[in-house]
């Protein structure tokens, strides 16, 4: 058999939830250890080597100058760089503060902001080339598995970007927008979660980020029709992927 692919898992400005999702693949985890050479994973092992990686899963966005250096360094050492989760794609929830002046937010949180060195949060795509994106907060383990399998097969992963609506219809749910007049983000949000929230009667909050070619302005208009005001709409689009070019206008850029 050919050499095992070398994997590195890195964390930048994020919450480690995406890495946890790898641990949660209980059925496959032991197989994964056998099939891959986990070369760098601070959360899981002591001796880490970040040289010559085949795949790097980057969790978290970039909010400090040294993270910019780090991601550039990782890019140099990696063949296939994956933005692992929404934070790495576009900043996710930490990016909400990009709309607040930096000094202001520092002063709210820290008594002495002079020790804080932080910039606005951006996805890693702002600084380096990204080979694949695993959407989600956190990504579904199925998509992680799909990516790892395609790495073994040496093919591009099949990562669909259909809206949540598609999965909602597969589940046979009634549409929350049309039948309950609830502001569901489903029609512009990428699926992959299996429409968990709408199946339980909760609206989609948008944790998987924008789908391919979403019509965000149309959905904003629909929300307005349901009775949301402009502030509500901004808040909805500014939650998980306000920094994404697809939602930028609706998020109030």
């Amino acid at each position: 058999m050919a050499k095992k692919p070398k994997i590195g898992v890195f964390k930048l400005t994020g919450c480690a939830g995406c890495q946890m999702e790898i641990f949660r693949m209980e059925d496959e985890f032991l197989d994964l250890i056998k099939l891959f050479d986990i070369s760098y994973w601070k959360m899981a092992k002591r001796d880490n080597d970040d040289k010559d990686l085949d795949i790097a899963l980057i969790e978290g966005g970039i909010s400090t100058p040294w993270e910019i250096e780090e991601i550039k360094c990782i890019r140099k050492n990696t063949k296939f760089l994956v933005a692992f989760g929404d934070c790495a794609i576009g900043g996710c929830i930490p990016s909400i503060r990009n709309w607040i002046p930096q000094m202001e937010s520092e002063e709210i949180v820290y008594p002495d902001p002079s020790k804080i060195c932080s910039t606005k949060v951006h996805g890693i795509g702002e600084y380096v080339k990204v080979d694949a994106e695993l959407k989600g907060c956190p990504p579904h383990r199925k998509t992680i598995l799909e990516l790892l399998k395609s790495a073994l097969l040496k093919i591009r992963p099949r990562l669909r970007q259909h809206p949540v609506c598609v999965e909602c219809k597969f589940q046979g749910n009634a549409c929350l927008i049309t039948s309950n007049k609830l502001p569901c983000m489903g029609p512009v949000i990428s699926g992959g979660c299996g429409a968990i929230c709408p199946t339980l009667g909760r609206i989609c909050e948008g944790c998987f980020g924008p789908m391919s070619n979403p019509n965000a302005s149309a959905l904003a208009n629909i929300f307005r029709d349901i009775g949301l005001n402009d502030e509500d709409i901004k808040r909805k689009f500014r939650k998980y992927s306000g920094m994404s070019p697809e939602f930028r206008l609706e998020a109030g850029h």
């Binding site: 197989d31 399998k149 609506c165 598609v166 046979g172 549409c175 489903g186």
Partner: protein, 347 residues
């Protein structure tokens, strides 16, 4: 064939007989939000439903369907057939859905046969229920698909006040009610059905002339309305299309599917799967190297409308049956009948 009559309260006898021999699927909730699901007893069944969210095509063309399984061993392949021989009854389908199934029957036969669809179809028995309470979005009458059914059923029920009129449509249907003591329907009962039919017809408010729909498509390839639908909105009070694909996924005649392979982690065992797809999604027309033959939203919505008008490759086999599901499910309030009407008016 002969027609029979059964008291509403005796429907249990009928259903219990079916339950003994088959898996029975039927509407499980009253009203609009119903879905066709497995029925375990008469209490689960709600025949007063208006429409289901997902059309019953899911029983013949499931959202996810394994075509075959395979094993790879040292460069050799082994294909394992998937056999699904479960016989089942669809109880209480409305005429629009039965007509849609007839269209799909036609579509999946022909020169190349779809074994999976045909197999499921062969194992199914359709017990239709004439629609006496058409919903506000239905326009089945215009599309010659309802509210009453004249072909395609094995057994047909009609609600005539305290009783159901039972009509037999096929040998399959005749066989499954053999042994039941049913009263022969009187002339009066049949007259009652006629009356109900007329009443139901009157309840349908949306009217469309299906004959000029294909022509409408042909003449309006470059119409402004497609830009309105795709980007600007405002077609009879609608918002712009969201490309969410809901319309095509709930449509009883939409058949498009995607095929892909899945393997397990050993890369030795896997299966080829087909999954329901929607022409409204960007990936639908994408080819290698990022080329896309239907990149614009307006092209995609136009294609879907034309397909439902009977002016796409599926022709009559994928055209609309007027069930009204797409109108109800569209978050943007896009109404296919209103689009057709404004096309006609703007000529």
């Amino acid at each position: 064939m002969a027609s029979y009559i059964i008291d509403k309260k005796d429907l249990k006898i009928l259903l219990d007989k079916f339950l003994k021999e088959f898996k029975v699927y039927g509407p499980i909730k009253p009203g609009l939000d119903s879905s066709v699901d497995e029925i375990k007893s008469i209490d689960d069944l709600h025949l007063e439903y208006k429409s289901t969210i997902i059309s019953p095509k899911k029983f013949f063309l499931p959202p996810k369907d394994t075509l075959f399984e395979f094993k790879i061993q040292k460069g050799n392949y082994e294909i394992k057939e998937i056999v699904n021989d479960e016989k089942f009854i669809l109880f209480g389908l409305h005429p629009c859905d039965v007509n849609a199934i007839l269209k799909l029957d036609e579509f999946f036969s022909g020169k190349f046969k779809d074994k999976y669809y045909q197999n499921r179809r062969k194992n199914s028995i359709i017990i239709a229920l004439n629609c006496t309470q058409p919903g506000e979005n239905s326009f089945c009458k215009s599309m010659n698909a309802g509210p009453f059914l004249y072909k395609g059923y094995d057994i047909l029920l009609t609600d005539i006040d305290t009783k159901y009129l039972i009509e037999i449509g096929s040998d399959k249907g005749k066989k499954i009610i053999q042994g039941l003591k049913l009263n022969i329907a009187s002339k009066n009962d049949l007259l009652k059905k006629e009356k109900k039919c007329k009443l139901a017809n009157k309840k349908i408010k949306k009217i469309l002339d299906p004959n000029w729909l294909p022509k409408l498509a042909e003449e309006n390839l470059d119409h402004e309305i497609w830009i309105d639908l795709g980007e600007r909105g405002g077609v009879a009070g609608s918002f712009p299309c969201l490309s969410c694909g809901s319309c095509s996924l709930v449509c009883p005649t939409c058949y498009c599917y995607d095929i892909y392979d899945t393997v397990d982690l050993s890369l030795k065992n896997g299966s080829r799967v087909r999954e329901l797809d929607s022409c409204q999604l960007l990936e639908y027309g994408q080819v290698a190297l990022g080329g896309n033959f239907r990149k614009d939203r307006k092209d995609r919505i136009r294609h879907w409308m034309f397909c439902k008008f009977g002016a796409a490759a599926g022709s009559k086999n994928s055209s609309c049956v007027g069930c009204g599901r797409c109108i109800r499910v569209c978050p943007s309030k896009i109404d296919i009948t209103k689009v057709a009407k404004s096309l006609w008016r703007k000529k």
